[in-house]
Symmetry: C2
Amino acid sequence: MANEIPDIVIGRLPLYLRALRRLAEDADQTTTSSQELGDRLGISSAQIRKDLSHFGEFGKQGTGYHVNYLIEQLRRILNLDREWPVVLVGAGFLGHALANYGGFHSRGFRIAWIFDNDPAKVGKQMADLTVQHVDKLEETIRNEGAQVAILAVPASAAQAITERLVDAGIKAILTYAPINLAVPDDVQVQYSDPVVQLQRMTFYLRP
Amino acid sequence: MANEIPDIVIGRLPLYLRALRRLAEDADQTTTSSQELGDRLGISSAQIRKDLSHFGEFGKQGTGYHVNYLIEQLRRILNLDREWPVVLVGAGFLGHALANYGGFHSRGFRIAWIFDNDPAKVGKQMADLTVQHVDKLEETIRNEGAQVAILAVPASAAQAITERLVDAGIKAILTYAPINLAVPDDVQVQYSDPVVQLQRMTFYLRP
DNA sequence: CTAGAATTGTGAAATGTTACACGAACCGTG
DNA sequence: CACGGTTCGTGTAACATTTCACAATTCTAG
């Protein structure tokens, strides 16, 4: 049953989770169907059922899925039944926005440390944290056993910081720098570059 | 030759473009090969050649690709040989970070207008723009013919603002709200939710 | 209790994407 | 100019993903 799960399937689970939580909270609904979930996400119902079937049987014929139960199962599958402390590197405008974003806590993450190399920023308060000098990066990661980092530094610094993060033990990096990172095979990377996303859409526009 | 180009191919072109510009600027290189480009991006050389072959023949056997020529061709293909003015909705921390981001201009975009519904923010300067009340949204989009928007508003407002954007003529939306948007078929949407990206990685971590 | 409607989980078919491998073209060297 | 080393563009094969379609199960209503 659970042999080798395609990465593309893993990538959809957080979307299912997000939609289910909306259903539970906004609509106050206790059950749903693959059809309803698919309509909300623009995904076929068969795909949702197939995706979930990689991990077990969570629904009931005739009835569908119990929303809260499925939420719990997805949280378990994605290792979200705990809170991941996150290292944030970069205390510029973007770092500031991330530090103040309220959406992490309820979804399994907490920005726990913020680092920057600018002496003018070190020591400043940001959200409820104090910006630390990037010199302390490795020490903190090792002492605290942090595995997740967000990179909000300029492209010119991104690869060097990445190597320091990886050496210190980080296994998952979300980066906003507009550059491809070289990392070992056992380190996950996710990219977020607004320009790449915009450029992907302009192809379809008439100029 | 150019019949129906897969969306997944279009999605890689901005990455090729980004890597090529780095090659041109940092490494000061005038030619490259599909092999070299692939190594930098973690993509096979065959895939790069196949992707490009959808649009024409840009290389030379034995030599590879002329970097600046390929950059020009990709810019043309992606409709980036012009500057797209962008409507930014939401002047919170994230809107602020986006307004001050220096990476748009050189890559085909310019934040041209910022809107918010908070009277405390309307009239404030942000980067070199004045925050306008969201009441003016439709009027501005129609008068200026804007087609591209970035959504940096809370999830609770996202769908309503989206409908207003679409009605006014926006055809491409990059949204940071953690919610799926319902839009007509001829409107492009790209999603950016840091939590979804983090959740996609925690699956692979040992808790 | 029975009939009918709804919905799951899943093999199999259809479709989409990537990798292979090779002829053709190009360059530099002697 | 001929040869050896590169590299492209591409037809085809291999692989991956999505969709189809249906038996099995559950619920509801009479």
